[in-house]
C-alpha cells in the first residue's frame, strides 16, 4: 500500500506539471491532478495508521 500511495502521488505531481507546462495551466486539469494527489495522500495516511507500531524510529532534530 505504501508503494501504491507513492505511485499515485508521483503520478498526480507529474500530471500537475504537465497541466502547467503543456496544457496552459487550466484550473480544471490542475484540480484533476489535485484530486489524484488527495487520493494518494489519504492512502498514505491510512497506510501509516494501519501499520502503526511497525516503524518506531525516533526522528532527529536536523532531519
Amino acid at each position: 500500500m505504501e508503494k501504491l500511495a507513492s505511485i499515485i502521488i508521483i503520478f498526480g505531481t507529474i500530471l500537475w506539471l504537465v497541466s502547467v507546462l503543456f496544457l496552459g495551466g487550466s484550473w480544471q486539469w490542475q484540480m484533476f491532478a489535485a484530486l489524484i494527489l488527495t487520493i494518494g495522500i489519504f492512502t498514505a495516511h491510512f497506510w501509516e495508521e494501519l501499520s502503526e507500531g511497525r516503524n518506531k524510529k525516533t526522528p532527529k532534530d536536523d532531519t
Binding site: 507513492s6 490542475q30 532531519t63
Partner: protein, 662 residues
C-alpha cells in the same frame, strides 16, 4: 542509501515529548486564589495604558511581555512573606494580567474608525457617510471630534460590542476546548510555543521555594538580554519622543527596506530586514526544520521564482522600478500571490484532514491510554468538561451571534450567515489549531471570502462590510489550553477566573483607551507606527469596501482560478513528495510558510535557529537545550516587558503633564 520511513504519528509524538520537558507526568491543581485575582487586576490595570500606547508607537503592544512584571512582583512578595507560590498560581497570574493588560486593545477599532471616517480616502471613495451608526458615530459628531469614547454618541457601537463580547466568550471557550481535545489529546501535536509560558511560570515558582534550580539562572540571563534589547528598541524611541518631535530610532522600526537595492537583479523580489531581533528567541524555540525550510523557500521565492519565472512570464505584471516593500507586496499580491495563497491555504486543511480522519476511524477499534496519540482519554483531575456540553454551549453562542448580525443587517441573506457560522468556522478553526500545534502561529487565511459571499448574495449595501460576520477562528486559543496542561493548572479554575475578571476589564479598558485618545490625535507624530501604517491601511480598507461597487472589483479581479488551483495542487504535490521521499512533514509547514514571504522578516528567527542548532545543542546537549530555551525566551519577554513598560510609563506621564511650546 534510502531514508528510513518515520511515520507522521511517531514524528509528532517525538516532537510533542521534546516540548513536554517534564515527560507528561504532573498533578493538576487550581491556580485561582484571592491574592492572585487581585494581584493580577492591580498590576494589569497599571500596565494597560503603557501597552496601548506602545502599540501606537511601535506596532507591538507588549501585552505578552508585561505580565512577567506582575509575576516577579508576586514572587518577591511571596519570598519576603516566607510563603511559596505555586506554578499554577503564577500561570494564572500571568494569564489574568495578560488579559487585563490587553483589555484596552479591544477598543482599538473604535479609534481606527473614528480616524477612518474622516480620512480623505473615505470621503473620496464616498463611504464616509455610509458607515453604520453601530460602528462609529458620524464624522462630524461630538464624540469623534472631541476624541471622547465616553460621549453618548458612542453608546450604540459600544453596546453592540459588549453583546458580541459576551456571546463570543461562550463560543471561544467551548470551540477552543473541543479543538484542543482533537489536536493535543487525539493527534498529540507538539505545540512548540506553549512551553515558553509554562516554563517561565515554573522557573519563577521555584524561586519562592527552598531550592533554586537551573531555571532561575537561565531565566535571569534571558531577562538581562531582554532588558538590554528593550532599552535599544523600545526605550530610546519612547524616551526621546518625549523631548523631540521626531524620536530617535537606533534601529529603524519596523524594518530596513532593501527592496529597491535588489530590484536590479531581482525585480519583483522583496527584502525588508525586520529589525525586531527578539525574534531570535522564537528561532531558538521553533523546530529547526520549520525555520530553515521556511527561510530557504522565502529566498527562492523572492530571488528566483518572482523575478525569473513569474516576472518573465508576465504573471507579476504591475511591478515597476522604485517601489518599496509595501507596494511590491501589494502588487505581487494582486497579480498572483493572493490567489496562490488561497489555494495553498486550502491544502493545509486537506492535509490536516488526511492526517486526522484515519485516526478517528481507528479510535473505535483501539484502546489507548491518556497521553498516547490516537486517544481521547483525559488525564485525571485536569478539570475537563464533557465534549457534548461544550458543543451545546458553542451552538448557543453561535446561534445568538447569528441572530444579532441578522438584526444589524436584516436584508442580508441569513443562509450565508449560517454557512459561515456552522461550516466555515469549524473548518477554519481546525486548520489553524493544527498550524499552531506545529508552527506555533497562524497560517490559514482565505482572502476575499467575504467578497465572494457578498457577490453571491447580491447584497449591495455597504453596511455588510462593517458587520462582524461569524467567520471565526478558535485555533490560536488551543495553545492556551496546552499551556494550562503543561503547568498542571485545572481547566475549571481557568474558566472561573476568566468569567470573574471579564466585567472589570470591559469597563476599565474603555476608560484607558479614552484617556490615551485624549492625549493626542491618533495617528499623529507622537505615534510613529500608526502614522506610517494607518494611511495606507485606510486606502486598503477603501479599496476593499468599494471593491464590488458597479460590479467592478480590482481586488476580486485579482482572484484567478488557475492561480488558486496552482496554489492548492502544488502544495499537495510538495506534501506528497515529501512523504514519498520520506522527509519529515515538518518541512511541509516550513515550505508552505515561506512561499511568497519576505525572507528579511525571517533573518532574526533563522539566526536564532542556527545558533540553537549548531552551538547551543552541542554545548548543552539536545535535552538540556530544549529545557533551557523556553525558560530563556520567557526571561527575555520578561526583560523586554520591564524596560518597555518603564520607559513608556515615563513617556506617557510626561505627555500628560508637559505642554510643549512648539
Amino acid at each position: 542509501m534510502a531514508r528510513e520511513r518515520i511515520s507522521q504519528a511517531d514524528e509528532w509524538q517525538t516532537w510533542a515529548q521534546r516540548y513536554d520537558i517534564e515527560g507528561g507526568t504532573r498533578t493538576f491543581e487550581s491556580g485561582l486564589t484571592v491574592k492572585v485575582f487581585f494581584g493580577a487586576l492591580f498590576v494589569g490595570l497599571l500596565m494597560m495604558p503603557g501597552s496601548i500606547y506602545l502599540s501606537y508607537v511601535s506596532g507591538q503592544s507588549g501585552a505578552a511581555a508585561a505580565p512577567w512584571v506582575a509575576v516577579i512582583l508576586f514572587t518577591e512578595l511571596a519570598r519576603r512573606s516566607f510563603t511559596t507560590a505555586r506554578r499554577q498560581e503564577l500561570y494564572m497570574l500571568l494569564s489574568l494580567t495578560g488579559a487585563a493588560v490587553g483589555s484596552g486593545m479591544q477598543y482599538r477599532s473604535f479609534i481606527w474608525y473614528a480616524y477612518f471616517v474622516n480620512t480623505p480616502q473615505a470621503v473620496s471613495y464616498e463611504i464616509a457617510d455610509k458607515i453604520p451608526a453601530w460602528v462609529v458615530p458620524a464624522g462630524d459628531s461630538v464624540g469623534v471630534l472631541s476624541r471622547s469614547l465616553l460621549h453618548p454618541d458612542w453608546l450604540l457601537p459600544i453596546g453592540i460590542y459588549l453583546a458580541t463580547k459576551l456571546l463570543g466568550t461562550l463560543r471561544f471557550v467551548s470551540g477552543q476546548y473541543i479543538l484542543f481535545r482533537l489536536t493535543a489529546d487525539l493527534e498529540r501535536l507538539p505545540y512548540p510555543m506553549a512551553p515558553i509560558t509554562a516554563q517561565g511560570a515554573t522557573a519563577l515558582a521555584e524561586t519562592t521555594g527552598k531550592q533554586e534550580t537551573w531555571r532561575w539562572q537561565v531565566f535571569s540571563i534571558g531577562s538581562m538580554a531582554g532588558l538590554l534589547w528593550g532599552f535599544i528598541y523600545i526605550g530610546v524611541p519612547a524616551l526621546t519622543g518625549v523631548m523631540m518631535s521626531t524620536p530617535i530610532q537606533i534601529l529603524k522600526i519596523p524594518w530596513i527596506d532593501f527592496t529597491q537595492s535588489i530590484e536590479g537583479f531581482a525585480p519583483t523580489g522583496v527584502f525588508a530586514l525586520r529589525t525586531d531581533f527578539s525574534q531570535m528567541l522564537i528561532g531558538f524555540v521553533l523546530p529547526f526544520p520549520v525555520v530553515m525550510s521556511e527561510f530557504v523557500t522565502a529566498m527562492l521565492s523572492q530571488f528566483v521564482v518572482n523575478p525569473h519565472i513569474l516576472y518573465r512570464n508576465e504573471i507579476l505584471h504591475q511591478w515597476h522600478p522604485g517601489l518599496d516593500v509595501r507596494a511590491v507586496g501589494l502588487f505581487n499580491g494582486l497579480d498572483f500571490y493572493r490567489s496562490y495563497d488561497m489555494g495553498k491555504n486550502f491544502s493545509l486543511g486537506l492535509v490536516g484532514m488526511a492526517a486526522s480522519i484515519p485516526m478517528i476511524f481507528k479510535l473505535r477499534s483501539s484502546k489507548k491510554e491518556a497521553g498516547q496519540r490516537g486517544s481521547l482519554a483525559t488525564p485525571p483531575n485536569r478539570g475537563d468538561f464533557p465534549l457534548w456540553l461544550m458543543g451545546i454551549l458553542w451552538l448557543i453562542g453561535m446561534a445568538g451571534f447569528v441572530w444579532l448580525i441578522h438584526w444589524m443587517v436584516p436584508n442580508f441573506p441569513l443562509s450565508f450567515l449560517l454557512g459561515f457560522a456552522f461550516l466555515y468556522t469549524p473548518i477554519n478553526s481546525y486548520i489553524t489549531a493544527r498550524t499552531f500545534g506545529v508552527l506555533g502561529r497562524d497560517l490559514f487565511e482565505i482572502p476575499y471570502l467575504h467578497e465572494i459571499t457578498f457577490i453571491l448574495s447580491r447584497y449591495e449595501e455597504i453596511d455588510i462590510w462593517f458587520a462582524p460576520l461569524p467567520d471565526e477562528d478558535y485555533g490560536a486559543g488551543t495553545q492556551g489550553w496546552r499551556v494550562l496542561e503543561l503547568t498542571g493548572t485545572t481547566f475549571t479554575s481557568n474558566l472561573a477566573a476568566t468569567l470573574l475578571i471579564m466585567p472589570i476589564l470591559i469597563i476599565s479598558g474603555i476608560l484607558v483607551q479614552h484617556f490615551i485618545w485624549q492625549i493626542a490625535p491618533i495617528p499623529s507624530a507622537q505615534y510613529p507606527f500608526v502614522q506610517m501604517m494607518w494611511p495606507i491601511n485606510a486606502t486598503h480598507e477603501c479599496l476593499m469596501k468599494t471593491s464590488l461597487r458597479d460590479g467592478n472589483s480590482e481586488m476580486l479581479q485579482a482572484i484567478r482560478g488557475d492561480y488558486v488551483a496552482a496554489g492548492f495542487t502544488s502544495s499537495l504535490a510538495i506534501y506528497g513528495l515529501l512523504w514519498v521521499f520520506r522527509y519529515p512533514s515538518m518541512w511541509f509547514y516550513g515550505i508552505i510558510g515561506g512561499i511568497g514571504a519576505d525572507p528579511g522578516s525571517m533573518v532574526a528567527r533563522l539566526l536564532g535557529a542556527i545558533i540553537g542548532r549548531f552551538y547551543m545543542i552541542k554545548r548543552f546537549g539536545l535535552k538540556r537545550w530544549f529545557m533551557f530555551n523556553p525558560v530563556l525566551a520567557a526571561g527575555f519577554a520578561c526583560g523586554v516587558g520591564l524596560v518597555g513598560m518603564g520607559t513608556v510609563a515615563i513617556a506617557l506621564v510626561s505627555k500628560a503633564v508637559i505642554v510643549k511650546p512648539f
